[in-house]
C-alpha cells in the first residue's frame, strides 16, 4: 500500500499511487497500448498498409502419430532421468568426437567449429547470449 501509514484499513487518504497506469484508466481521450505489436505501417495519409512479414504465421507440421497431449495423467510415476546440464550435453555430443580426433591425431585447437562450438554469436539468427528469441 505504498506510503500510507501503518494502521489504516483500506485507502483512507487518496488514490493508490502505486497502482499500474493502464489504458483502462484515465479519460476517454487517453490512449495507451497494452503491448500488441504493430502488423504494418501507417502512412501520412492515415492509411494503414499491412506488411505480411510483421503478421505472425504459425507453421505447424502434420501431427500424424503424435501421441502427446496437453496434460499428463496422474498415474504417471516420477521420472528417473536427470535434468540435462551443460556438462552432460558436452559429454554426450562433443566429447566422443574430440576423443576420436585425438586418437586419429587430427585434433586441432584452432578448428573447434567442426564440433559445433562457436567463437562468437554474431551473425547467428538465434543467439544464445544475449538470447534474442522467446520460448
Amino acid at each position: 500500500m505504498g506510503v500510507l501509514s501503518a494502521l489504516t484499513r483500506g485507502l483512507v487518504r487518496g488514490a493508490d499511487r502505486m497502482a499500474e497506469w493502464t489504458s483502462k484508466r484515465g479519460p476517454r481521450t487517453f490512449y495507451k497500448s497494452r503491448g500488441a505489436r504493430p502488423t504494418g505501417v501507417l502512412t501520412s495519409s492515415r492509411k494503414f498498409i499491412p506488411v505480411q512479414a510483421m503478421i505472425p504465421e504459425f507453421v505447424v507440421p502434420s501431427l500424424e502419430g503424435f501421441n502427446l497431449k496437453p496434460y499428463v495423467s496422474y498415474k504417471t510415476p516420477a521420472g528417473t532421468e536427470q535434468p540435462m546440464t551443460p556438462e552432460m550435453l558436452f559429454n554426450e555430443v562433443v566429447a566422443p568426437q574430440i576423443e576420436r580426433d585425438i586418437e586419429e591425431g587430427v585434433f586441432n585447437e584452432e578448428n573447434l567449429e567442426k564440433y559445433g562450438l562457436e567463437k562468437t554469436q554474431e551473425g547467428k539468427l538465434f543467439k544464445l547470449h544475449p538470447k534474442n528469441f522467446a520460448r
Binding site: A6, K69, Y71, T76
Partner: protein
C-alpha cells in the same frame, strides 16, 4: 521502470520476521485484517524445534476400521485423553489442529439478519500437548527418530519399540492417482515416459527450421536495451 530492475524483482511473497502466524493462511483476507502490512503485534514465543525432530505429520489418522491406524492423543486441555486425526500442522507456531477435537463453537457466514450457521471450529494445540499413539495397543507413547537396519529414518515408540509408519499421503484435492481415469486430453503414462530426446547442440528453433526446410537469410537490426 528499467527492464533489468523489473526482471530482478522477487516474485515470492515475503513476510517480516516478526509476522504473527495464525490459523488462517497469510494470503487470505482474514489474515490480512489481523496482520496488515505495517502493524506490529505482541511477540509470541515459540519453542524452536528442528525440522528433523518434528514428530507429528498431517494425516496421522484415526480410521476405526483399520487395525494399524495412526492416531494422536491429547495430553492436556479440554479434550484431554481423546484421540484424533491431524488435519493441519502449522510449523511456525508449533501448532497441530486435530479433526473435531478441542473445539469451540461459532457462527459462520452471517449476513444481514441471518445469524449464520453454528459450527464447531477446532482450536490449535501445541506440539507438547499431543503425543503419537502406538498402533498396536492404542496407548500414548513418547517417540524418537531412529534408523532401521536399511538406513531408513523412522519414528519408533520408546515404550514398546514399535515403528510408527508414516501416514499415507493424501492429496488435498482428493485425487487418488491409482484410481484416476485418463480424460481425452491426458497423455498416457507410457507416452509420457518414452524417451525421444536426442541431445544436440542446436536449439529447438534451429532444428525445426531444418526439418521444415525454412530458409532465413535476413538478420534483425541491432538494438540495445538497459
Amino acid at each position: 521502470m528499467r527492464l533489468t530492475t523489473l526482471l530482478s524483482m522477487a516474485a515470492k511473497a515475503a513476510f517480516p520476521h516478526d509476522y504473527r502466524y495464525g490459523t488462517s493462511r497469510p494470503w487470505t483476507i482474514a489474515a490480512q485484517r489481523l496482520n496488515p502490512p505495517g502493524k506490529k503485534r505482541r511477540k509470541v514465543f515459540v519453542e524452536p524445534i528442528a525440522n528433523e525432530d518434528w514428530r507429528v505429520l498431517r494425516g496421522d489418522t484415526n480410521i476405526p476400521c483399520k487395525s494399524n491406524s495412526n492416531q494422536v492423543e491429547i495430553l492436556s486441555g479440554k479434550d484431554k485423553g481423546k484421540q484424533g486425526k491431524v488435519a493441519q500442522v502449522i510449523r511456525r507456531r508449533n501448532w497441530v489442529i486435530l479433526e473435531g477435537l478441542n473445539t469451540h463453537y461459532r457462527y459462520i457466514g452471517r449476513s444481514g439478519d441471518y445469524r449464520g450457521t453454528y459450527i464447531a471450529s477446532e482450536a490449535p494445540l501445541l506440539l507438547k500437548d499431543v503425543t503419537l499413539i502406538d498402533p498396536t495397543d492404542r496407548k500414548p507413547t513418547d517417540i524418537e527418530w531412529r534408523y532401521t537396519e536399511e538406513g531408513e529414518r523412522v519414528r519408533v515408540s520408546v515404550r514398546t519399540g514399535r515403528i510408527i509408519p508414516k501416514p499415507v499421503y493424501q492429496r488435498k484435492d482428493g485425487i487418488i492417482p491409482q484410481q484416476w481415469k485418463d480424460g481425452p486430453k491426458d497423455t498416457s503414462p507410457e507416452d509420457t515416459l518414452q524417451k525421444t530426446y536426442t541431445p544436440s547442440l542446436k536449439t529447438l528453433e534451429e532444428e525445426v527450421m531444418e526439418k521444415m526446410n525454412i530458409q532465413e537469410d535476413r538478420r534483425p537490426r541491432k538494438s540495445y536495451w538497459y
